[in-house]
């Protein structure tokens, strides 16, 4: 049976861990000692009491909203810019897409140096132009740290969403636009009445990927800001890591994991429902 290896793999490495995380979340489970028996609902109750939890939730949501809006608007603009077949447009597409091929961890390390007062290139340029006197504290304040991380993420992912939207744009038949023009529709009208509605599946895909990805943000903050300053850029997934390997409490890390899973399921189901209903109506 050719599906057997995959079935065994999925049972062992997906179903079993899912059951295990449920059990762990209901148990006292120190990192090095292993399971010490059930303690429901201590781990879950502990989450809400954690002084960092609600700020982390708040930050993760704020980050998600900003990143999703900025990313979708920018990549939509880029997709519209490069969708036409002109000479040399391939160069632009390649340039926009290159950062996508990098890993997020590499990109974060790159920007960590890029923003650093030691070797970063922006401060010298600004100072040379006489715009500023002192180094910009790119990750020194909570707002700047958020801003700088958003630049990094947009740089890394805009090309990816551009590609999805571009494919969507190119799949809209030209005849539709021509018919609209014959009927006297302006460019603006045909964008809002034709392009956007027909692009809905592509936009939905971008939305789901970017919302999920941002809610689970980890690499960029772990590497670039290390959750700081003052834990202001600590995300929910970073809390899981911290519980497990800084506080050596796998039980509470598991409880957090379960909460993240449930919240994400609810959000994804809501998104699917909303987008599907829109598509039918």
């Amino acid at each position: 049976m050719y599906a057997a290896p995959a079935a065994i793999f999925v049972l062992l490495l997906f179903v079993l861990p899912l059951l295990l995380v449920g059990r762990m979340s209901a148990s006292e489970w120190p990192l090095l000692k292993g399971g010490q028996g059930l303690n429901l609902p201590d781990n879950y109750a502990g989450i809400a009491d954690d002084r960092l939890f609600w700020p982390a939730v708040g930050f993760t949501l704020k980050y998600t909203v900003i990143v999703v809006v900025v990313l979708l608007l920018l990549s939509m603009g880029m997709a519209l810019l490069v969708q036409e077949r002109r000479r040399g447009v391939g160069l632009l597409r390649t340039a926009y897409f290159l950062p996508v091929s990098l890993g997020l961890a590499s990109a974060s390390l790159l920007f960590w140096g890029f923003y650093s007062p030691q070797i970063g290139p922006i401060d010298p340029i600004l100072q040379w132009l006489g715009i500023t006197d002192e180094p910009i504290r790119w990750i020194g304040t909570p707002n700047m740290a958020l801003f700088s991380s958003i630049i990094l993420v947009v740089w890394k992912f805009a090309g990816f969403f551009m590609l999805i939207l571009m494919v969507g744009l190119q799949s809209i038949p030209n005849e539709v636009y021509e018919a609209a023009r014959v009927d006297g529709a302006s460019k603006r009208q045909s964008f809002f009445r034709i392009t956007l509605p027909l692009l809905r599946p592509s936009i939905a895909l971008c939305l789901i990927i970017s919302v999920t990805g941002s809610l689970l943000a980890f690499d960029q903050f772990f590497i670039l800001t290390n959750g700081g300053p003052d834990n202001s850029t600590t995300t929910v997934v970073m809390m899981i890591y911290r519980e497990a390997f800084r506080r050596f409490d796998l039980g509470s890390a598991a409880a957090l994991s379960v909460v993240v899973l449930l919240v994400l399921l609810v959000i994804n189901i809501a998104q699917f429902r909303y987008l599907r209903r829109g598509a039918d109506g």
């Binding site: 899912l18 810019l81 890993g103 494919v167 999920t212 997934v237 890591y241 796998l250 994400l264």
Partner: protein, 274 residues
């Protein structure tokens, strides 16, 4: 009218080109910075490769980390291709009990956040003796490649006309013989896409090794470079970090340039799903 067109074209290039430069600047900067002289790095004066030399000698040494990354990435590719080639064949061509349920279960991996599974997988891998092991890490990375690659291989097999294999079956090939002698060549492009994405994901991943590997001589590159950076609070080596970024990025950029077509196919199939 012609003037208007010229203005349109110029503004397209000014705007699009400007944006392109903004996207390229960080990549160019890191390459230049990794060889430039700077007080905060090992490259004190003149351009040169001292930062790369620092990296070569750091802790277990760059060759070890490169080997670790390559080993994990290649093993992930092998696992992913093996599972999805056989599985895709099964899903596309055979009816068996639980077929739809199994496929749904595999796709459902997408719904479960990475981090949710890493905590129990850490415990489970400990039980299996695969914690802190590169093979264990490759298994974990394979898990997250499975939904995409199974989907990709399934549609690749479904796109192959049945006549091709029927004649081979008539000639007395078993179903495995058909797969090995005929179908593998028909689904080859899908396999390249699956392998490419598995490799890039394994090469670049950070959070899975961070959870799974605690012996620094077994760190893959991403983790080694991130750790090098934080090692001593007093003397952070900015130059070696950027040299590391360049080394991490090179295979990715190379694969992108060589396999652009397969890249785009991967994303397209993603777009089809939506």
């Amino acid at each position: 009218m012609r003037l208007q067109q010229a203005i349109g074209r110029t503004s397209f290039w000014v705007f699009g080109g400007g944006l392109a430069i903004m996207f390229l600047v960080p990549l160019i900067w890191t390459t230049v910075a990794s060889v430039s002289p700077h007080g905060a790095t090992a490259q004190q004066d003149g351009y040169g490769l001292n930062n790369y030399r620092t990296l070569t000698e750091y802790d277990a040494g760059l060759p070890t980390y490169l080997w670790n990354s390559a080993y994990v990435s290649i093993l992930t590719v092998v696992f992913t291709l093996g599972l999805s080639l056989l599985g895709g064949y099964a899903f596309a061509r055979f009816r068996f009990p639980g077929r739809d349920a199994l496929f749904l279960l595999i796709i459902a991996i997408l719904m479960v956040p990475y981090a949710t599974l890493l905590v129990p997988l850490w415990v489970l891998m400990g039980e299996l003796g695969l914690r802190n092991s590169l093979t264990g890490l490759a298994l974990v990375l394979t898990l997250y490649q499975l939904p995409f690659s199974m989907f990709m291989m399934r549609i690749s097999f479904e796109a192959v006309p049945r006549e091709i294999e029927e004649s081979a079956l008539v000639d007395g090939c078993g179903t495995f013989g058909v797969l090995r002698r005929v179908l593998v060549f028909a689904v080859w492009p899908g396999m390249i896409t699956v392998g490419l994405f598995a490799f890039l994901h394994a090469w670049n991943d950070f959070i899975a090794p961070l959870f799974m590997i605690n012996d620094s001589s077994r760190y893959p590159l991403s983790l080694a470079i991130a750790t090098l950076r934080q090692q001593t609070m007093g003397a952070v080596d900015f130059g070696a970090t950027q040299a590391g970024v360049v080394i991490m990025a090179l295979p990715c950029l190379l694969l992108f340039v060589l396999l652009q077509r397969h890249y785009v196919r991967g994303f397209m199939s993603g777009a089809l799903k939506g």
